[in-house]
């Protein structure tokens, strides 16, 4: 694992190359390093980490930080397979402007996972070749993993439900 010092060194390198505003925060928690960066800098930062050996993207997922602002987070779990070392890159976007550049071109594994994050949180990945819902139905409204999305009251989509409703809403 990059230790707390190693994380700061990486953060400084990012600041040098991408400007002082590129790094938002560094967190070292339970022996794990997390580097929070500005959303528009995600691509270059991931490339920089790839050069340092973190060449495998283990996971990409979203998170809703409600009620904190900016609410939505996208987390990239990177892995260095030769040094057996992990680092998390995080970017936060607001619900009003949930845009973040897609990394599918350089990290093909991000394809389905970015679609899932879009589906569940409504984060729009600019430049994704095929940004559609993946788990929820195509005509679904809302993004169910957001913290303010209510649980329950979901009508089941069967063909007999397609006509005018025969019963009132539940």
């Amino acid at each position: 694992m990059p230790d707390a010092t190693g994380l700061e060194l990486i953060a400084n390198e990012v600041r040098e190359k991408e400007g002082a505003q590129a790094v938002v925060e560094t967190v070292f928690f339970r022996e794990h390093a997390t580097l929070e960066v500005a959303p528009e800098k995600v691509g270059p930062v991931l490339e920089l980490l790839r050069e340092r050996g973190y060449s495998f993207m283990a996971s990409l997922h979203g998170c809703d930080y409600y009620p904190q602002e900016p609410r939505l987070g996208v987390l990239y779990e990177l892995l260095d397979m030769s040094a057996v070392d992990r680092i998390t890159v995080k970017a936060r976007v607001s619900t009003e402007d949930p845009h973040i550049p897609s990394v599918t071109e350089r990290w093909p594994t991000a394809d389905h996972q970015e679609r899932e994050t879009y589906d569940m949180f409504g984060v729009v990945f600019d430049g994704h070749p095929d940004l559609r819902r993946i788990l929820m139905p195509e005509d679904y409204e809302g993004h169910p993993q957001r913290r303010d999305f209510p649980v329950g009251g979901e009508p089941v989509i069967f063909t007999f439900n397609e006509g005018p409703p025969t019963r009132g809403p539940r």
Partner: protein
């Protein structure tokens, strides 16, 4: 036509297929778009594939998923930490111990709680039994796809014995809720070790038999050898882990690379393939079953004495007998059952090596007694992206064999 149906029909093909469509086509050839699934036995669940065919050759595959999406990650946010374990287990329904282990591992890291050695060994025994069980289901159903029906009965015969063992130690055959934060739910009952030993004595011979049935079977070899290979570099860029990656010659296994749960105590090998074709995928999984058997015997022989769950009463329930005599135990019991324990705020990603690759559970805590976010990085979901790369340019029959060797579990993909 409803809006939903209209959108369903408007699904565009991926750029590669459009490229193929744009080419000059002779009068005798045209592309066929075939809908495959979701209710097709060879999809191992409810996977739907839009397959573009030129004759019998697969030009492109577009997986459509989400048919068994049940919102488990959302449900888990409404439950206290230890009550979320049963729902998390239901994600990948063939690897329930791995799901719950990834989840409790993440929560333990957040809590910074120590797991007793005996609990770790008991976890290893159940994880590896689960790995064999999952591989048996894969082997039986895959052989069924290739036309070898008898394999299915042989594999499920051994699987029953493993499920019997789970029933004995946990009370449930599937979705056992055995992994608990801080340890395991219960110590193994009397007679379990004996029954497990007899299974371990029997198992290598049984795996030999599966190998004898399939390894020199002309049809199996023709269907598997040399079909749909994919190199390790492409697999890595697609995020593929587990037996699929090892079949291509990359010996990445988290049990060896970053041991968790005392895996460093055991002596076992990582089977790897050479070219990464379907035969290697099959051979690697078959060899993994021997290694899992070895790990279980070592864990059973070296099972240390001690508690099966942490003594930290803020996290684990007190033993039943204490409730009658100790006021404090009663208070702890009440607090745990009603509110549950509170977890310090933070975010943790806990990866482990499952039968299909890296199961990674991301848990975010906001300091309350319910997780603010639970996400499972499910290997089936990520590995499915490699499917069209594997099967492109192959015969449609080889696509079926490749799907079988991919071993997707739709419960895990859709969650």
């Amino acid at each position: 036509m409803s809006e939903y149906r209209r959108r369903e029909q408007s699904i565009t093909l991926s750029p590669l297929a459009e490229q193929v469509e744009g080419q000059e086509e002779s009068l005798t050839q045209e592309l066929l778009t075939l809908n495959f699934g979701p209710h097709h036995p060879a999809t191992h669940g409810v996977l739907r594939l839009l397959v573009t065919l030129r004759g019998e050759i697969v030009q492109d595959i577009k997986p459509i998923i989400g048919y068994v999406h049940t919102g488990i990650e959302k449900t888990a946010e409404d439950k206290s930490y230890w009550k979320a374990i049963p729902v998390v287990e239901r994600m990948d329904y063939l690897a329930y111990h791995f799901n719950s282990m990834a989840y409790v591992g993440a929560v333990e890291t957040l809590l910074d709680v120590q797991v007793p050695k005996r609990a770790q060994y008991l976890r290893v025994i159940h994880l590896e039994l689960n790995r064999i069980m999952s591989h048996l289901v894969w082997l039986g159903t895959s052989a069924l796809d290739l036309g070898a029906i008898s394999m299915f009965w042989y594999c499920f015969r051994e699987r029953e014995k493993i499920l019997d063992l789970f029933e004995m130690s946990t009370g449930q055959r599937m979705h056992t809720r055995y992994m608990q934060v801080g340890g395991v739910a219960e110590d193994i009952p009397p007679g379990f070790a004996q029954k497990l030993r007899s299974l371990l004595d029997e198992m290598p011979g049984r795996i030999d038999q599966y190998g004898d049935l399939l390894n020199s079977n002309e049809i199996v070899l023709q269907r598997l050898r040399g079909t749909c290979p994919l190199d390790a570099q492409t697999l890595l860029s697609l995020g593929v882990t587990g037996p699929l990656l090892r079949a291509a010659g990359n010996p990445w296994d988290l049990r060896k690379a970053a041991p968790y749960c005392s895996y460093e105590d055991f002596d076992f090998k990582i089977p790897v393939g050479t070219v990464g074709d379907n035969y290697d995928r099959y051979a690697v999984r078959l060899a993994e079953m021997y290694e899992s058997t070895k790990i279980i015997s070592q864990a059973l022989e070296g099972l240390p004495e001690g508690p099966h769950i942490t003594e930290d009463r803020k996290v684990a329930l007190p033993p039943r007998h204490e409730l009658a005599t100790s006021m404090e135990a009663l208070i702890h019991h009440f607090k745990l059952v009603t509110e549950g324990f509170r977890v310090p705020p933070g975010e943790v990603y806990y990866p482990l090596e499952g039968p299909r690759g890296e199961y990674g559970c991301f848990v975010r805590s906001d300091g309350s007694s319910k997780p603010a976010r639970v996400h499972m990085r499910d290997p089936s979901f990520v590995n499915l992206q490699a499917f069209s790369h594997m099967a492109r340019g192959a015969y449609i029959a080889d696509m079926i064999a490749t799907l079988a060797m991919l071993d997707p579990v739709l419960g895990g993909i859709d969650r």
